[in-house]
């Protein structure tokens, strides 16, 4: 598991240079097994920003957590005890974040989350050294609920896997959605056949379907839904419509509305440059996860320009200021160090042979999360 790709950023050309690595970052992410695609995207986005910054005082150590919480905890111990890193980042999954983040921040390390945003870390369990650069887990679902109101939907059937992130998702949707619920279902985690659920959707009399089924579950659901002949409008969070998996869903995803805080057509200079350089560097379109990795690295680099990591208070303030050009456009941290940002509604389209998304509306503007009030720090 101890995949070591210690990367000395950019100007390694200066052999024997005096400059010692001033900030050492430990990245724990998923690089092998089923969920590897997400970790690889976060890593590639992060390293692209590091490379572009060309700083010789930034060192990144990358290790593979195999999507196992105990391995992630062990890696965090290793990075803190042996590598003596200053900042940790990289974790994709909420359950792994819950295992690593509280202990790491309690030991005085900074943690920048490029993907997971479990609700306890935004509310009662918030910590001054924890910064979430992606979203609080409920955010995209809340935007979907708001969009459903705007679109005049009155009666939704909602479903998600039976685990905490699934419950957060449906809670988020219900928080914003003003209509009735035609049905609410929790499916088995990792389930691949949805015939029984689709039959219930058909019989429920709903006017729309909201689903949160990340990864392979979403691919299966979308294909089976398209084949079933049920033609109610589908709404989902970006996770089931990401660049990495859209190609595997194919036509079944065309026209589906989904919510995301980022898309490749957001009109700002930073984003245009990001999309172009990412494609040039890796030969594929960047995904949501890649954009989050890229933003995370740029946030860190912006703070490095303003404060010394050894001075924790100053560095924390520099992170909190978030003075970097986010590829999402406007970006700020709330009091609980979670993003305040716009969340968009996207539609799946086909550009040539490639399935991708385009923004059609703004779901929520300058949206913060629902747990900020519970955070005391």
């Amino acid at each position: 598991m101890f995949l070591r790709t210690a990367v000395l950023a950019a100007s390694t050309a200066l052999l024997g240079a005096m400059a010692q690595a001033d900030v050492k970052v430990g990245m724990i992410t998923t690089l092998s097994g089923g969920g590897a695609g997400l970790g690889i995207d976060v890593r590639d986005g992060f390293m692209l920003a590091v490379k572009q910054a060309g700083r010789d005082d930034l060192e990144v150590v990358i290790e593979d957590d195999q999507r196992k919480p105990d391995v992630a905890v062990q890696l965090a111990d290793k990075m803190i005890q042996s590598e003596k890193v200053d900042v940790l980042t990289g974790i994709i999954w909420s359950n792994l974040a819950m295992a690593v983040v509280p202990a790491a921040t309690a030991q005085g390390k900074f943690y920048l989350s490029p993907n997971a945003g479990p609700s306890p870390l935004a509310g009662k369990g918030c910590h001054p050294n924890y910064f979430n650069v992606a979203w609080q887990n409920d955010n995209l679902h809340e935007a979907a609920g708001a969009y459903a109101n705007d679109a005049g939907l009155k009666n939704s059937f909602i479903l998600a896997p039976n685990y905490p992130a699934g419950k957060d998702a449906l809670t988020g949707y219900k928080r914003m959605f003003g209509g009735e619920l035609a049905g609410e279902l929790y499916t088995k985690l990792g389930q691949t056949d949805y015939a029984a659920e689709i039959a219930q959707i058909r019989a429920s009399g709903a006017d729309s379907v909201y689903f949160f089924l990340p990864g392979g579950m979403g691919i299966s659901f979308l294909k089976q839904y398209a084949a079933s002949g049920v033609d109610l409008p589908l709404v989902g969070p970006a996770f089931s419509f990401d660049q990495g998996i859209l190609q595997a869903v194919g036509d079944a995803a065309l026209g589906v509305k989904n919510t995301s805080q980022w898309n490749k057509d957001i009109d700002n200079a930073a984003n245009a440059a990001f999309v172009e350089t990412f494609q040039a560097e890796y030969g594929r379109l960047p995904s949501l996860y890649a954009s989050q990795g890229f933003d995370t690295a740029n946030l860190l680099i912006s703070a490095m320009g303003k404060a010394d990591v050894a001075d924790a208070d100053a560095f924390r303030a520099a992170l909190k200021a978030a003075e970097f050009d986010s590829v999402r456009g406007d970006f700020a941290f709330g009091d609980n160090h979670h993003p305040i940002q716009d969340i968009y509604v996207r539609e799946v389209i086909k550009e040539g042979d490639v399935f991708t998304n385009k923004i059609i509306a703004t779901g929520l503007s300058d949206h913060a999360d629902a747990y900020a009030a519970e955070c005391k720090m």
């Binding site: 695609g37 015939a195 029984a196 039959a199 219930q200 691919i219 294909k223 595997a248």
Partner: protein, 305 residues
């Protein structure tokens, strides 16, 4: 809940059962004839799906993709039988479990190395992509009906192969008394390679067929493997008939459990708690079924003592 919905769910359960039968037929065949626990069965399922996705992407033909899945999985099966599996026949189950577990690791990461970390695209053929209307007004996906028919055809084919052909006679004889049929001049090594390749081909075929409505990705074989084991254990390991009955039983139990349990709990609990408790119980239901069957019939429904 209407009668129509209930009938549709019964159909879904049947369809899921047939799907499970396709996945488990090869596994039970290999166990019955060679006494081998093959955890890598799920990997062969994955190989079939990946081969089909690759060929479908290159040629655009679903039929060619299905043939590729059969060929690729049979080839992979024959290859590992000749190099590795045949050394395991006279080992205990523990060695078999570990060796085939090692094969899972090799196949999974090998596939990821070849095809990358992202899921592949494999779609149902256009002719079968929509729903058809059944008598009574039930709309049902044409592809799923096809799966039911194909699964039933495979079941009939397997029965015919085992009960009506010369190879089948040898397979049954091999199950009963390995030394005797070797003494009678049957090349037992070749027979075993054939049976293992056949089992592998069935797994790969199922992978391609089911992969078209699910997600073709690394690791797709593992949940299937566990389900297939549940099926063949309920049916009685080694019995094709048992696998068929077991598959239908598991398919119906799982589908109806997912559908009915939350509604039943809604009668006694408040809605959100009912959904939560019902779903939790539904996800445990097939294992409860399996444990229940084994407690009363320790060798499964059709297992031989």
């Amino acid at each position: 809940m209407t009668t129509l919905l209930f009938i549709e769910q019964l159909l879904n359960g049947l369809q899921f059962g047939v799907m499970l039968f396709l996945m488990s037929a090869g596994l039970t065949l290999v166990f019955g004839v060679m006494g081998l626990i093959n955890l890598a069965h799920g990997s062969l399922y994955m190989i079939g799906a990946f081969a089909a996705a690759a060929v479908a992407a290159a040629t655009g033909s679903f039929l060619l993709a299905l043939m590729a899945s059969l060929a690729a999985a049979a080839l992979a099966g024959a290859l590992i039988e000749l190099t590795i599996i045949r050394r395991l026949y006279d080992r205990d189950h523990l060695d078999q479990v570990l060796a085939t577990f090692a094969l899972i690791l090799i196949f999974s990461e090998g596939t990821r190395w070849l095809f990358g970390s992202f899921p592949l695209f494999l779609d149902v053929p256009a002719a079968l992509s929509g729903p058809v209307t059944l008598p009574g007004g039930i709309q049902y996906p044409a592809y799923r009906l096809t799966i039911i028919l194909v699964g039933l055809a495979v079941a009939v084919g397997m029965f015919a192969l085992i009960n009506r052909t010369r190879v089948g006679i040898r397979i049954r004889a091999g199950e009963a008394d390995r030394e005797m049929i070797a003494a009678l001049g049957v090349d037992i090594a070749k027979l075993y390679t054939f049976v293992f390749a056949l089992g592998a081909a069935l797994a790969g075929f199922a992978g391609a067929l089911v992969g078209a409505i699910q997600s073709v990705q690394v690791g797709m074989g593992e949940p299937v493997l566990i389900l297939a084991f549940v099926v063949i254990v309920i049916g009685g390991i080694g019995s094709i008939k048992g696998a068929f009955v077991g598959a239908l039983l598991v398919g119906l139990t799982d589908t109806l459990g997912r559908f009915l349990l939350p509604q039943m709990f809604a009668l006694i609990l408040e809605p959100s708690a009912a959904v939560s408790v019902g779903s939790a119980l539904a996800s445990m239901l097939i294992y409860i079924l399996m444990a229940g069957v084994l407690i009363f019939r320790p060798r499964g429904l059709y297992g031989v003592a």
